[in-house]
């Protein structure tokens, strides 16, 4: 069982092999959680999306025609749940969310800009994650999805195009604008190379 590939595990799981399914969960659980967390920026919601993704996977695995599409399929499910959560949050927290968000952004910007100790002392490891998640959340959904899939899930552009059912050029275009947008955000927050290299 240990030596089986993803495709083989999927085939076994489709036939009702719980061990194979558990193995798939073990391989993908952290990955999907990580993807959801980067997308949503909140632990609780990311956990909920991860749970829902695997429940959906468990219920509908029989419908997956070819095991080689498993990867794209899982990401599709997770992406759909992430987008659903974003829509829910927008409906639920329209006014408070906007005001809170503005305040947090301003705090980050002020902290980095007005330091007397020097920027290298400001950004520590816990804060790096926080800043990056905040920056990702500021991207439009379509750019954020592509950036996360490429930078953190290390998918090929062809795979991303398959998952999102887009052309490769569109995916690359979104990636390009996503990176440009992130650069503008980091510049606005006055975050320079030195802030990060101190930690290396």
């Amino acid at each position: 069982m240990n030596t089986l590939s993803i495709e083989e595990l999927v085939e076994h799981a489709k036939k009702g092999d719980n061990t194979a399914f558990n193995k798939l969960v073990k391989l993908w659980y952290t990955r999907i959680y990580n993807y959801s967390f980067k997308f949503l920026g909140e632990h609780d919601t990311a956990m909920e999306v991860t749970q829902k993704t695997f429940i959906s996977l468990h219920q509908h695995l029989e419908k997956l025609k070819e095991a080689r599409f498993f990867k794209a399929w899982v990401y599709q499910i997770a992406t759909n749940y992430c987008k659903e959560e974003v829509r829910k949050q927008k409906r639920k927290w329209v006014l408070p969310f906007v005001s809170f968000k503005k305040q947090v952004d301003d705090e980050i910007f002020t902290d980095v800009k007005t330091s007397e100790k020097g920027p290298e002392h400001l950004i520590e490891e816990a804060e790096i994650n926080k800043l990056i998640i905040k920056a990702l959340k500021k991207l439009p959904e379509e750019q954020r999805t592509v950036v996360i899939m490429k930078e953190y899930e290390c998918l090929k552009f062809k795979e991303i195009a398959e998952i999102l059912q887009l052309s490769e050029n569109t995916v690359k275009s979104r990636m390009y604008y996503g990176l440009k947008h992130l650069k503008e955000i980091f510049d606005k927050w006055n975050i320079k190379k030195e802030n990060f290299y101190y930690e290396l």
């Binding site: 799981a13 036939k15 009702g16 092999d17 719980n18 399914f21 969960v25 659980y29 952290t30 959680y33 990580n34 967390f37 980067k38 632990h43 990311a46 956990m47 991860t50 749970q51 695997f54 429940i55 468990h58 219920q59 029989e62 490891e125 790096i128 994650n129 990056i132 998640i133 950036v147 490429k150 930078e151 953190y152 090929k156 552009f157 490769e168 050029n169 690359k172 275009s173 990636m175 390009y176 604008y177 990176l179 440009k180 992130l182 650069k183 980091f186 975050i191 190379k193 990060f196 930690e199």
Partner: protein, 287 residues
């Protein structure tokens, strides 16, 4: 961005999705185009920022509620669900019967209620009280109707009686007035009576006129006498006043004349004195 280089090419270079020839060609372009190089460097820097994010670990295990028996379980799920519902219902019914609860079915409803016997007794009691109350209400209603009818009859009688009395009184009054009118017409319409009355009135008028004239002449005489007396008094008073005034004027004239005479004497004395002094002065000078 250099217009000759499209976004896809930059992205391919950044993520190493170029073959060696494409990569070499792109790097040559980078050397020639500083703006393009700056753009690519900025993107590389942004990527390096993004890569500083660490992997997040989930803190909770995956919970697949009741889904552990993959495939085989899903077919039985529906039956199990219904069986559990039926079992729960059965337990409730048995428990209700055990505790002697009232169970009723009908009209698409299942009702379980407490105090079965007590409810029946209570309902019978309520029905009995309701009937008694309704009977009492009907009795009171009849009594009230009867009383009302009697009262209405009494009022009708009294009204009729009053109307009859008023009518008879009115008729009597009308007949009396007719008799009086007939009598009056008989008295005033006789010519002799009218003539007598006219004589009587004339005599009365004559007497009254005579009396009035005599009274009037007396009063006029008195008034004239009074007037004459008052006039005489007035004239006398006026004469006295005039005499006093004349006397006063004479006295005053006398006093004034005396005063003027004294003044004249003084002036004459002064003049004589002056004339004497002058003549003495003239004489002295001559001398």
């Amino acid at each position: 961005m250099n217009s000759n280089i499209d976004k896809s090419t930059i992205i391919d270079y950044l993520y190493g999705e170029m073959n060696e020839d494409e990569k070499l060609l792109f790097e040559q372009q980078l050397e020639k185009d500083p703006a393009l190089k700056a753009e690519v460097d900025a993107m590389i820097e942004t990527r390096s920022f993004l890569n500083k994010a660490s992997v997040q670990e989930p803190t909770e295990p995956l919970i697949l509620n009741g889904l552990n028996n993959f495939n085989s379980q899903s077919k039985d799920t529906l039956w199990r669900k219904w069986a559990s519902v039926a079992a729960a219902l059965l337990v409730i019914l048995v428990a209700a019967a055990w505790w002697n609860l009232e169970i009723e079915m009908g009209d698409g409803e299942l009702r379980i209620s407490f105090n079965k016997n007590y409810n029946k007794v209570q309902q019978a009691e309520i029905k009995k009280q309701k009937d008694a109350l309704e009977e009492e209400i009907a009795k009171q209603k009849d009594l009230m109707n009867q009383a009302l009818k009697e009262r209405v009859a009494q009022l009708e009688d009294s009204l009729y009686l009053g109307y009859t009395n008023i009518k008879s009184e009115f008729q009597e009054l009308v007949s009396q007035q007719n008799v009086q009118v007939q009598n009056q017409q008989r008295v005033y319409l006789t010519p002799e009576d009218v003539e007598k009355l006219m004589w009587k009135i004339n005599e009365e008028n004559f007497k009254n006129t005579t009396l009035l004239l005599s009274k009037t002449s007396e009063s006029q005489q008195k008034y004239t006498e009074e007037l004459m007396r008052e006039f005489a008094e007035f004239v006398d008073e006026k004469r006295q006043n005039d005499l006093q005034l004349v006397s006063y004027a004479l006295n005053k004239l006398k006093t004034d004349t005396q005063a003027q005479q004294e003044e004249t004497n003084i002036i004459l004395a002064k003049l004589i004195n002056e004339w004497n002094k002058e003549s003495e002065t003239k004489n002295f000078n001559k001398k």
